[in-house]
Each structure stands twice: as structure tokens, then as C-alpha cells.
Amino acid sequence: MTSSPLLALASYSFRESLRTKWLVVFTVIYFLVLVNVPFLLLVAEGALSGSALNSYIVYLGSVSFPFLPLLSLPLGALSVADERESGTLQYMMSTKLTRTEFLLGRFLGMLAATSAVVVGGYLLAGLVVANVDYAIFPSVGIEAALSLVLNFIMLSLAIVISTVSKRKVTALSVAIFSWFLFVLLSDFGASFGLIVTLPNGTLAEVLAAMVNPVETTAAFSEMSLNAFGPQVGPTVEILKTFFGGGTTGPHTAMLLMGLSLVAWAAMAFAVMVYSFKKSDLA
């Protein structure tokens, strides 16, 4: 066992997360979804053209980004709330461990476990793809990197939910609702409302389109493959209108989206640390 309290806690948190039934079930489903076996078999047998692999990469993003928060949100939401309810949190925080050390230890352990699932899933998909066309492998890497960023954001938000919720049932309910909000409701609700009420082709509209990190990640992935190609979603359409075509437009749009994701990650992490440091732990 390591002698650093933070690493010892992170190591425990990692092992505990890997043993979580939800993570095991999710991993199996996630791997099956990512490795679209029938599709890849058809490509390998030449029944579909090689360019169909591009569709496969688009498919990876379209299933991974909305699906991934279902892993990190419930897992993170149960963490602090469960420990508070059982009394373990009070005990841990009565030791010399600082709140930041405890939080980082728990967070890093869960982040490592959930990231391992992401990396494992994409590695598997990447290996299958590389057998057909090695050149497409880097695209899988971009998808994996985006998934890791999204996982970081969602896990941070989940721990915020867990910290402010008095009971784990509440935390879990809010986490599931958040998934609906980010994946389904945002299209019909908040961001859609914002976008349609803002003037077309303005920066405000572009920023509003990036309010939802799940949507931003999906749009980034879409553009990394097709730039401002013919078949794009609503977010990319807004970016296309604002930045225009050409060679610099897509790059600027992707830079902005990248910054938006970094800002999301930094903000979610900062709120997580702040809320935990300020909360009543008993």
C-alpha cells in the first residue's frame, strides 16, 4: 500500500469503482455498442466500401457521447452522498486528511476507473478498425480523447450533485435527470430556446450552442471528420453560419469548441472543489 494518503485513497477509490456493478454492466454494454461487430464484418468482407469506416467513426461519437454520462453521472453522484449517509465521510474527515486531499483522492480514483472503460472501449474499436484500414486509427484516438474530456466534466458535475444532495437517492435522481437534460431535453429546452431567441449568425448564438458539453463534444467530433461537410447537426450549422466556409472557418470553430470544453472542465472541477470545501459534512 502506498504511503501517500491521497494516492492510497485514489487507489482504493479506483479498485472500489471497478467493483461497482453498474460500471461492470456499463462496460459490457459500452464495448458491445462501440464495437459494432456486424458493421465491421461487412466492411472487412468488402460488402461495404472502405469509406464506410468514416461512417463508423461518426457512429462511434454519436453513440459514445450521449451514452458516456450514464457511467460517470450515477457513479459520481453516489460517491460523497453515500459516504455521508453511511458515516464514512465523517470518519475520514475527522482524520488529518484535508478536504481537498480527500476529494482529489476519490475523484482521481473514479476518473481513472471510468477513463479505463473509455480507453478500453476505444482501444478495442481501434484495433478492429486498424485491421481494415490503419489510416483511420487516429480518428478513433480523437474520439477517445473527446470522450475522456466529457467523462472528466460529467464526473466533476456528478460530485457536485453528490456534495449538495443530503441523500443518495436525491443525488442519483438529480444525476439521472441531468443526463436527460444534457442528452435529450437540451435540444428541446434551454439551449434550443436560447438559440432561437438570439439573432442568427452572432457570437452570442455560437456561445449558446456550446452551453451543453455533450453537444459540443459531438459537434467537435463531427467537424474533426468532415469540417463543415454536407451532413452536419444544428450546432455545427450555427458555427458554419458564423465562421463561414473556407479553410480557417472550421479551424477557428474547432478551437472555440476546444476552449469551451476546457472551460467546462475547469469550471466543473473548480465548482466541485469549492462546493465540497464549503459543505457541511455531517
Binding site: L9, T88, Q90, Y91, M92, M93, K96, D280, A282
Partner: protein
Amino acid sequence: MSGQSSDVMLEVAGVSKSYGRSKALRDISFEVRKGGKTLLLGPNGAGKSTLVKTIMGLHNFQGRIAIDGFDNVKEGSKARETTGYVPQVFSFYEGLTVEQGAKLIATVKGARPESALEKLEAVGLTRARAKSIHALSGGMRQRFGLAMALLTDPPFLVFDEPLASIDLRGQLGFLELVNRLASAGATFLIATHLSGLGDFADDAVVLHRGRMVARGAPSELLERINSDETVYLKPVAGRESEVVHAVESSGGRVTDSQGSPMVVTIPPGGKLALLRSLFSADDLVTDVSMEPAKIESSYTKLLQKAVGKIDK
């Protein structure tokens, strides 16, 4: 800065804590000197556990708390390093075995993992090392908690209802251990609503509805309450009514005249008068035994006095 040269181990100054509109602690102030053994008394809901958790840095609060001179907010880590804490119900990661849990706690507390095993042995949990924490009984959990509180041999020990879930044998073992630690110079703060710790303590703080309603040495508080003592008498056959008369004329009261022995309560000043009456001409009783008043069972009287003041 550390006030380690000071004689004070715990300083609680003007501490208040609210849950929304409900005030759980109201302007509590007291000190525990180094080597002191302080009881935190009060009925359920008095605020004892809230105060203990606040001292341990688990609650946000108004006021100031310092442990061995370390402010428990600004220097919380150092303050808690000085303290061994046993909560009312000891909980830790349930999926771990006792040994794994003990080693993790040792790492978190900066102690050697081997010392965790030594402490487990000291509380008789060596044979339960491979057991899951989830499978421990209430008493074993508390012993586990106690072993972990003693890991770094901290000079200040805070116990929240330590005897609540321990059987009689465990309680005796616990009392023996705390007496041994007290002889070695440890400082204690023990929150309890009823226990056999009254003789052990040299100081008591009585809480009621979040307020401190009394403070002092248990003997002083007993004097202030003017607590009755219990006397057990075995009357000579046929002379029971004379015994009852002797009790009443000494200011006492017979609380059980049917059983053997007869149970009598008597105010502290009436004890000698009762003995004189019982043995004046010829012996009215064949045996006498006395049970002195105990602070843990008498503090309810302090509360009754305090309730009037609080309600006003």
C-alpha cells in the same frame, strides 16, 4: 499558531451552529485542560453529537474552536492530527476487511501499517482481521473505531457515546483502557447521555436544547443539584414500620418497601441522621449499603432547573 505550551487542550469559544432556522448550538464556551477528563452530558437532541462533530471540523459554525492551540478551521489538519475520534457508530468502507481498512486508515493518518495491526490486537480484534467490516457486530465496530482512534497515540481523545453499542464485558474493557490512557496523561472529551463514566470524569458540561446549562466538576454539580443518594436497608423482622419512620424523620423517602432490601432515597445531609436513627437504641436493620449519587443520572435535575430559564 500552536499553543502547545498552554495548559488548554480544547478551547470552545462562542460556538453556534444552525440548520436553517433551527439552532442546534447556541453560544457554547468552555475549555478542557490538558490531562482533563470532561463529560459532555445531555439528553437526546441536546446538541452533544453536533458539538462533537463541530469540534472535529465536520460542521460549519460561528465562533472559534482550537485544539492544542490549532484553530480547527484554519489549521484543521493539524488540529485533527492531535485528536483520536470515535464516533457514535463507527463506519468505514464496508467492502474492505478489518485489516485492509486498518491499513488504509493508518496510511491516511500517517501511521505505520504494522501499528494498525498492533492496535487491533490491543482491542482484541486480531482474530477478526480477515472479516469484512460489513460483517462486524456493533461492539466490534466500536472496538475497531477505538483501535483506529489510538493509532497515532494522540494526546486528545474525543468519544461520542462510546458505550452505546458495547456489551457489559466490552464496557469494562473500555473503562479499563480509558483509565490506563488517562494515567498516561491523555485528555478526554466524552459525549454521553447515560453511562458509567461519572466517576472517571473530573469535569462535566451539561447541554440542553443547544445551550450549555451547567458546567463544573461532577461533585460540584451534584452539590448544586443536592442529589439524593440511594440507600438499601434490610430491616430486622417485624420492625419495618420503625425503619420507615426513621427514614421519614431523617428527610428520606422509601421508594420500595416490598422488596428485600428496602430501597430508600435520602438527601446528602440526611444520611448521618438516618444511620443514627437506625442504630440508636438497638439495631433496626441487619444490613445497610449505599449508592452515591451519580452525575450522569442526576443531570436531569440540572436540566429541569435550566428548562425554566430557557423557556423564560
